[in-house]
Symmetry: C2
DNA sequence: TTGAAAGCGCTAACAA
DNA sequence: TTGTTAGCGCTTTCAA
């Protein structure tokens, strides 16, 4: 039983009112060519007067496509995803697609496989912005675009998967070179295990080696504030004389700030800290983290374009796009103490 | 043209395989009573073997309900919503409903009215967890539940609207009384203009008046870190001797921390700070904010239950539920300097 | 450039 | 307890 007393107008009502056939209305809706101005205007007017909204259900059923794309985010707690989403939508919306957003952590908590919800919705495509267990994408049957440097990009899924990401290895290098250029020599890395995290670690290590310095890496598990704190504690225990820390992301950097403060070390006077993601956190005046900006909005937009392209030509070869990124210098970095 | 070569199995295939009729399969799917064990098992087996997934589009079209509820969040940047969503889903999922989440800020940016996306999706109901412009909910036509103390709860929409919220006025009182009990007398409020923000301000003011103290309120606009910073600057300019600050939320509290540090004031030795929301931010060791925990997960679950109830009985009188909340004491509060 | 008509996969009476 | 049968509102050939 419908909640509403007045039934919604259908395409049929619009057709009647405009004095045309259902099919013509359908054509106008998807602004097909070869429709006369007069008819088009009549239809548009009727739509307006009736307050007509097409039924997605009916359209999905008839066309066998939902015009919905699933977007899987790793964890809503870490605010890096907000810009990615904005970028995705800036391209998807005008193309008539709706983004259906899910959080891997929540999805996993509810017991089913992370993409099951999307498949039940019959999304037309999926954007993956999270690290997945191997095999999760087998037999998914819809195009997949990976946003961010996730390992599964190449393998898994047994078919062409497009990858659009910031060049996180470059990011790790930029962060490290910034500290080296300031004069630091004892620079350590708080690693986080994730697609981007691993790339950032590689970037850090290559920059250190290129400078003839020995990399010091701790952590390598979770990418949370708590993990950043523990890794920094372990680091300061083992290497009390570090003057620079490159963290795998901003929340880990915030964890490191706490560890440093506990030991009476001040930032940036005693130790400089660099984060990654340039998340809203980094910009908070109280934290003022120097951070690598991954331009998530651009990544999102590019990922959406890749998606639309693949929807057009399902058999095109896999496409891999690495976007440049840059460092935002704030108050958490300075030359080492003399 | 479908992306996949093999067409998905339909309810008809399942029926054939199980040796029953379509309707019986439909009944089993919605686990209706009065279906024999044998047939049910046969159907379930067939579903399993075929890897059948019901088509939401077809079901929505036939039943005129999408089993989807729209959830409108104020701003993904402020992580308070994560627990609310978890609470909502803990009730909605088992009931067979899918949450479709949108961000008011993003939605507004894309130029259309914030709920238009939901209406286009034909959601069965909407959860509002944001402050809306007047008139936004007129003629929406589906049940609405407001999560949080949003002004529009009572009026607007011209019909019964349920409200489930934390008792934010109590929250404001709890935060203030905590400081008073520690011995503070010059306690100020950084106000934010939002439903919960206004209630928190009232709570602060009533606690001050009850203690025979004069309320000092600044801010009252945005609820961001930047707004918290400016309001705190203005406050410290006008009232340099405050020893306690109650912020309308955690991000504003973080803004205040920066303003205090700039003036050489330390927290909590010189000034104590209390936030609201007990968001992930508050728990970061580096911030360690004492904060009012609004139990968002409980609010979410209760809101979802209210929704299901209203879907059952659309004409029930409006329901308003205020949940208790409590204070989480961390390192940002202490007795005032002597 | 437009219209007629046949489904898309499911639900929900109604019959049996 | 189970099967039959109309649609739900739209897309999409195919003809006109």
């Amino acid at each position: 039983m419908p909640t509403d007393a007045t039934p919604r107008p259908t395409i049929y009502d619009v057709a009647q009112r405009a004095g045309v056939s259902k099919s013509l209305v359908s054509l106008v809706l998807r602004d097909a060519p070869h429709v006369s101005e007069a008819r088009r205007d009549a239809v548009l007017a009727a739509i307006d007067e009736l307050g007509y909204r097409p039924s997605r259900a009916a359209s999905a059923l008839a066309s066998q496509r939902t015009r919905t794309v699933g977007v899987l985010i790793d964890d809503f707690h870490n605010p890096w995803f907000v810009e990615l989403l904005a970028g995705l939508r800036s391209v998807l919306d005008p193309a008539g697609y709706t983004a259906s957003v899910a959080d891997l952590a929540l999805e996993t908590a509810s017991g089913r496989k992370p993409v099951d919800g999307f498949l039940a919705q019959h999304v037309d495509a999926i954007v993956i912005a999270a690290d997945l267990a191997p095999g999760t994408l087998e037999r998914v049957g819809v195009p997949i675009v990976v946003a961010g440097l996730r390992e599964l990009g190449a393998r898994d899924a047994g078919r062409a998967v497009d990858v659009v990401a910031g060049d996180d290895e470059l990011g790790g290098r930029l962060a490290t070179e910034h500290l080296l250029r300031l004069g630091h020599t004892r620079v350590a890395h708080l690693a986080g295990h994730s697609g981007p995290g691993d790339a950032r670690r590689r970037g850090y290590e290559s920059a250190m080696l290129a400078a003839g310095l020995e990399p010091i890496t701790t952590g390598g598990g979770a990418t949370t504030e708590a993990a950043g704190y523990s890794a920094a504690c372990a680091l300061l225990e083992a290497h009390p004389h570090v003057t620079g820390i490159v963290a795998a992301n901003d929340v880990m950097a915030v964890g490191a700030l706490a560890a440093l403060r506990e030991r009476g070390l001040s930032v940036p006077a005693d130790v400089s800290v660099v984060g990654h993601d340039d998340s809203p956190l980094a910009a908070y005046r109280y934290l003022a983290l120097t951070s690598v900006d991954g331009h998530s909005a651009d990544v999102g937009a590019a990922a959406a374009r890749a998606l639309l392209r693949r929807l057009d030509s399902p058999d095109a070869p896999a496409h891999r796009e690495l976007l440049a990124l840059d460092l935002v210098v704030r108050g958490s970095t300075a030359p080492p103490p003399t």
